[in-house]
């Protein structure tokens, strides 16, 4: 299990990085934490001609609150975000980050890298989608902002174009009166989710995000109605996800988990709201 040969470039600035990406187009692959990428390279599932290591670009290391959102620079690791004192502004991230991999992989794995990788079972794309967050993309010429839904287009597919990279990701900060819940089912803690559900509830209703089932995280808004309505809504949601089979679970099991976890988290959130 050894990677194929590649050139290795380590730009010091964004401009250098953009030049490289533009020049090499599809042949270039950005390397940040490498927790998913390096494994795929070792297995030769991927063999890019050139790796562009962005970890030493100073400008990408920032994390802060900006424009009503937690703004996480491209090379900020999951562990650093978790330890960032300002994280209290978004409790869903505080809850979810410890579910990602293991303490060891979080110390190297980046938040934006996880988004760029677009694994349908990853937690961070789910959180971004559920919160209605955005991704800031740049190339040599322009910067654009995409919503989570526009950014991830499929299983491991994103709207990133050749020459482009994620500069930062923005997770909206918590609003007054919101309640958050998250749960994930996987074979072992730290494994990829079979099903992950994130819930953001407020006085009007609840936003439910589901990961691990469809090719991208899926989000649905359910207004508070009479008691049983959300059970039906979750059933419909579960079917709409077109669950897939893999070595860990069948589609039917996934649908069932979506229904039950969803209902449970929604109820929990509703109870918490009524206490607020």
């Amino acid at each position: 299990m050894k990677p194929a040969a590649f050139d290795y470039a380590r730009p010091d600035t964004m401009d250098e990085a953009f030049d490289l990406l533009e020049h090499h187009g599809n042949d270039a692959q950005i390397l940040a934490g490498g927790q998913s990428l390096a494994a795929m390279l070792n297995m030769r599932l991927a063999s890019p001609r050139i790796l562009v290591d962005i970890t030493r670009i100073e400008a990408l290391r920032t994390v802060g609150t900006f424009d009503g959102a937690v703004d996480v620079g491209a090379t900020v690791t999951q562990d650093r975000l978790l330890r960032w004192p300002g994280l209290t502004t978004q409790p869903l991230l505080t809850t979810v980050l410890p579910w990602i991999g293991h303490p060891q992989t979080r110390q190297r794995g980046t938040v934006c890298g996880s988004l760029a990788h677009g694994d349908p079972s990853s937690e961070l794309p789910l959180v971004l989608a559920t919160l209605g967050g955005r991704v800031i993309l740049s190339n040599a010429k322009r910067t654009r902002t995409l919503s989570a839904a526009k950014f991830q287009t499929g299983a491991m597919r994103t709207a990133l174009e050749p020459g482009e990279m994620i500069v930062s990701a923005r997770f909206p900060t918590a609003q007054e009166g919101q309640v958050y819940r998250f749960h994930e089912v996987s074979p072992r803690r730290g494994d990829f989710a079979i099903v992950a559900v994130a819930v953001v509830a407020d006085s009007e209703g609840v936003t439910v995000g589901v990961g691990g089932v469809a090719d991208t995280p899926s989000v649905r808004r359910i207004e508070w109605l009479e008691t049983d309505a959300f059970t039906d809504a979750m059933n419909e949601f579960a079917w709409d996800l077109h669950a897939t089979n893999d070595v860990h679970a069948t589609a039917e099991t996934r649908r069932g988990l979506v229904r039950r976890l969803g209902a449970k988290l929604i109820e929990e959130a509703r109870d918490a709201l009524s206490l607020c």
Binding site: M1, K2, P3, A4, A5, Q29, L37, M40, M43, R44, L45, A46, S47, P48, H117, G118, D119, P120, S121, G154, A155, M156, R157, T158, V185, P187, R188, R189, G190, D191, F192, I194, A214, D215, D232, N235, E236, W239, D240, H242, T244, N245, D246, V247, H248, A249, T250, E252, T253, R255, G256, L257, R259, R260, L261, K264
Partner: protein, 1002 residues
């Protein structure tokens, strides 16, 4: 046998341990391990840590991506031209240097170190690349081209056993390579007279103990002497040494096999390195350089070895009181693609103790061994035990339920009673010692089963799913080298000559400084043999363990060994430590004899203690042992004649009880038999299917315990494997033989946070068979824990558990929550579905702003193909409606080049067609069929499609989790392009408009 422990008649009260010898002060105590200081600082000497000889090259294996196929051709030209590549050995070249491996069953199903003409499982080695380093070797693997002609694969042993199924080895005439029936007592009558007959069928899955260090082989060929010198982390049994030497066409002394000082775990698996030893030996000879191979994790999971999966139909006959009067096993053993030595040993290892811990006089067994398109099986911790007890202990629970007796009570009624010891079982085992009922009583009491029952009652009252499971098992150790011959008829056995015993070897040596070294052929893999040997030898010699240096690395050229050598069947504590004890005792006699003359006292008055030889009658009359040792070296002439020369002793030990099977096929298959009683409480979460172990108690009677800490370590480690087998671990295959568990994310050993607390209890009924009184104890929980947890889960969910592991998926199926219907049942227009119920499948539709006729034209126009297929590099028209395509598969950063053959068929102009194809590349293989239907609609044409795809090879093994989504994305793109190609021929314009046109619904 003079060194046998001496027992008083009350040795059946095991808590009162009787020792024979007042000097025995180190054995039985916990000592910190001599192995640890080096390992803790990263200074262990594992196989891949040892210096490589000058000029050493590195090997990588090309492996089959498909389960069953003929190899039509192998093209190594490009790979050989790669700078840094020295040699590529294919099956046909290997066959010129080697003969097939011997196997225990005489059938025409030869196996070599590489596939010859046909591949029979995913991961089977097809060629060896030898190159400057592993990186370059893997570069070469990517560009070797193999042309495979696929054959029907068979994965299910029951299907394989059917006469109409495709044969793996046509010359063998059947996929069932071995079948024998056995009868002990009169099972027919017992079943006829039974008050109750209980029957069940269980399926034990494929799993593996997957040590963290994988296989390593370093081979050198010495042409002048025609000797192969190989260092490998092989673990024995050394019965395989003659197998390897035979394959190389050499007498044993020309295959010098060395093992490294440390090995990173094995649990049986490293037995299976032997094929690779032969492969690497040939590679070294061909390339005339030392060659090293370090197995990677994907290779290990996909192709090294596995426990057998087994389908067992078991019946128990019971009288009205719940006594089991007879058992009937119908065992169908799946050994994978080849019967690799020592298979079919898994199914015979337990033969003598197939009646478990119970007194059952009548027994019928039918053993069938079948080959399937999966990795060959081999040694695995628990070897044969988990398979047998999963059937036996499940059926005991079912019997209890049928008779309305408590599951523990029915076990009590059937356990071999203490006054029956030693007990001769119906199939021939001699259960050597133990008080099974006493152990059960004690565990019930000290493990507080009553409290667990109260917890269950409370949980159930709260509406929770809570269950209690039990298991009583016999843990055999020190395999009789003759047990495997039970597979022969008595007549065949008589012709082939006796095989019996379990010869262990150990050497003890005093050097001129008076320091002691011990050498054994136990080839440990982390169990701490060196520590225990020092304890055992120290006690015999009256010295301190810390002064002894023990060596467990082994060299077949120089060190004593025999075929039974190695690290398996839990033979260390009883047999190997026993041999060391004998060797040390002989040296002790010699030391005493020298000391007697020096101290001027009779021999009987000398004792060895605290490093001194001392007159018992006058303790002041003493001499340091090292002085005696020095004398033996420096002035051998002054040593009494009867003491003999030199201070080195090699002892060989075997148990006289281990005779070959008798003419009625009764066999004492192991030297010693421990007893285990487990019980546990589990709670099943209906929300997510998780099984939580609330409490687990395991009570062992493994005879005398040599080092309590290490003993508990073995039990905990075995428990972790049993726990994994029960809940998490499976080497998964699709029905077409694709292997899906190629990473540690797909094959899931437990993490620290998964492991429950474990309460361990010990009784110690010394074995009368082994010199130390010890029995094996490291495998037992691999046998007892899977079924104990299964029984508890069955109790919790209220329905039978017939297979493992109990993943969330299986648990949720068991609970069978009814699925609410889809509120929008007709999302996708139903299309004729394609065969192969297990393929990856999907459907979708796209709307194209063009008439069906126009779309039809586009599809049939070969010039459009490059625009339709993403990352298309070349298209060749290959006959009517047939194309050869070179393209890349790509999703995210994953990219792989492949060659495909596409065939259009069932053409119905303007309405629809089928598109079928095969693709092969470095990432794996795919076979796909699809159906396309065109319907006129308002906006132009609606294109509906459905596909079924079988994917195999690396991409399936490591990327299974992502495959469906990835395939769906790629196929949607192709159909999007079909649609798009109608309005523009430039791919870029097409891509831009794709999103608008394409409403892929799947």
């Amino acid at each position: 046998m003079i060194y046998r422990l001496i027992f008083s008649s009350d040795h059946l009260h095991p808590t009162r341990l009787i020792v024979s010898n007042a000097r025995m002060e180190h054995v039985g105590r916990s000592f910190e391990r001599v192995e640890d200081p080096a390992l803790l600082r990263g200074a262990g000497r594992f196989a891949d840590d040892l210096a490589e000889p000058p000029g050493c090259l590195h090997a990588a294996f090309l492996r089959a991506p498909v389960a069953h196929a003929e190899i039509k051709s192998i093209d190594t030209k490009n790979a050989l031209a790669l700078p840094g590549v020295t040699a590529i050995i294919t099956g046909s070249e290997l066959a010129q240097h080697t003969a097939p491996f011997l196997s225990g069953v005489k059938v025409n199903a030869p196996q070599y170190a590489l596939a010859i003409e046909r591949v029979r499982h995913v991961g089977e080695p097809v060629a060896i690349v030898v190159a400057r380093d592993r990186y370059v070797a893997e570069d070469a693997l990517e560009i070797i081209q193999v042309d495979y002609a696929s054959l029907d694969p068979v994965v299910d042993p029951e299907v394989a056993a059917e006469p109409t199924t495709q044969l793996l080895h046509p010359d063998a005439g059947s996929n069932v390579l071995h079948e024998r029936r056995f009868k002990y007592g009169d099972p027919d009558q017992a079943f006829a007279e039974a008050a109750h007959v209980v029957k069940t069928t269980v399926r034990y899955p494929r799993n593996s103990c997957t040590p963290i260090e994988a296989f390593v082989v370093l081979a050198t060929y010495h042409p002048g002497e025609n000797v192969f010198e190989v260092t490998a982390n092989f673990q024995g049994p050394y019965t395989l040494h003659p197998v390897m030497a035979r394959a190389l066409g050499l007498p044993g002394n020309r295959l010098r096999l060395k093992t490294p000082p440390d090995s990173g775990g094995s649990f049986g698996t490293k037995q299976a390195v032997f094929n690779n030893i032969v492969g690497l030996a040939v590679a070294a000879k061909v390339s005339r350089r030392p060659v090293k191979w370090v197995e990677d994790r994907l290779e290990h999971l996909a192709a090294s070895t596995s426990a057998t999966n087994r389908v067992t139909t078991i019946q128990a006959a019971l009288d009205a009181d719940g006594h089991i009067t007879a058992l009937d096993y119908d065992q169908l053993e799946d050994c994978g693609a080849y019967l690799r030595a020592p298979e079919p040993a898994t199914i015979y290892r337990m033969h003598g103790n197939m009646t478990g811990a119970y007194t059952i006089e009548n027994l019928a067994i039918r053993n069938r061994v079948v080959v399937t398109n999966k990795t060959p099986t081999g040694l695995m911790r628990g070897f044969g035990g988990p398979q047998v007890y999963f059937a036996l202990e499940r059926v005991v629970d079912l019997a209890a339920a049928r008779l309305g007796i408590d599951p523990l009570e029915i076990r009590r009624r059937n356990l071999v009673p203490p006054n029956a010891m030693p007990h001769s079982t119906a199939p021939g085992a001699v259960l050597d010692s133990g008080n099974y009922l006493g152990t059960v009583d004690r565990a019930e009491h000290e493990g507080d089963l009553a409290e667990l029952r109260a917890r269950r009652a409370q949980a159930r009252a709260d509406g929770r799913l809570y269950g209690i499971g039990h298991a009583c098992i016999i843990e055999p150790s020190i395999s009789n080298m003759g047990y495997i011959t039970t597979l022969l008829t008595p007549q065949e056995r008589a012709r082939s000559g006796a095989k019996n015993g379990a010869l262990a070897t150990a050497s003890v040596n005093f050097d001129p400084s008076g320091a002691v070294t011990v050498q054994v052929s136990s080839v440990p893999q982390g169990q701490g043999h060196r520590t225990v040997l020092a304890q055992v030898v120290a006690d015999e010699l009256g010295i301190y363990p810390s002064t002894i240096v023990t060596a467990t690395d082994h060299d077949t050229l120089k060190d004593p060994w025999s075929i039974a050598s190695g690290n398996y069947s839990s033979r260390f504590a009883g047999a190997v430590a026993g041999a060391a004890k004998l060797a040390a005792a002989r040296i002790a006699e010699r030391l005493k004899s020298i000391a007697a003359s020096d101290l001027n006292v009779p021999l009987s008055d000398v004792e060895l203690t605290d490093g001194m030889a001392r007159a018992v009658s006058n303790p002041d009359n003493a001499i340091p042992i090292e002085r005696i040792a020095a004398k033996a070296h420096w002035s051998p002439l002054s040593v009494p004649l009867d003491a003999g020369a030199g201070l080195r002793e090699t002892a060989f030990w075997t148990a006289p009880e281990l005779s070959e099977p008798d003419t009625h096929d009764r066999v004492n298959s192991s030297g010693a038999y421990g007893f285990i009683f487990d019980f546990c409480g589990v709670e099943v979460d209906p929300l997510d299917g998780a099984v939580r172990i609330d409490k687990y108690v395991t009570a062992h009677d493994a005879g005398r315990i040599l080092n309590p800490t290490l003993a508990d370590g073995q039990i905990r480690g075995g428990f972790a494997h049993g726990f994994g087998a029960a809940l998490l671990e499976e080497l998964t295959y699709t029905p077409d033989g694709a292997f899906l568990a190629g990473t540690f994310s797909d094959y899931c050993p437990p993490y620290a946070s998964d492991m429950p607390e474990l309460k361990i209890l010990h009784d110690q009924s010394p074995s009368p068979v082994t010199p130390t009184g010890a029995k094996g104890l490291g495998e037992g929980n691999c046998m007892s824990t899977p079924v104990c947890i299964a029984n508890a889960v069955a109790d919790a969910v209220g329905c039978p558990v017939n297979t493992l592991p109990l993943t969330r998926e299986r648990i949720l199926k068991l609970i069978s929550i009814e699925e609410p219907v889809d509120p929008k049942p007709t999302r996708i227009p139903p299309l004729e579905l394609l065969g192969d119920g297990h393929a990856l499948r999907g459907e979708g539709s796209a709307t194209v702003p063009a008439s069906p006729e126009k779309v039809w034209e586009t599809i049939l126009d070969p010039d459009h193909l490059p625009a339709i297929i993403p990352f298309c590099h070349a298209v060749e028209h290959d006959g009517e409606h047939t194309y050869r395509v070179e393209a890349s598969f790509g999703i995210g950063p994953i990219r792989g080049r492949f060659q495909a053959q596409l065939l259009l068929s069932n053409l119905d102009p303007g309405k629809g067609l089928c598109l079928n194809g095969d693709a092969t590349g470095a990432l794996g293989c795919a076979t796909g069929r699809s159906e396309i239907r065109l319907t006129k609609c308002e906006k132009g044409t609606r294109v509906d499609y459905a596909y079924a795809l079988l994917i195999s090879g690396k991409i399936a093994s490591v990327g299974g989790r992502l495959l469906e989504g990835a395939v769906r994305g790629q196929i949607a793109e192709i159909f999007g392009r079909i649609a798009g190609a109608n309005t523009t021929k430039t791919a870029s314009g097409l891509r831009a408009r794709l999103a608008g046109w394409l409403r892929v619904k799947s």
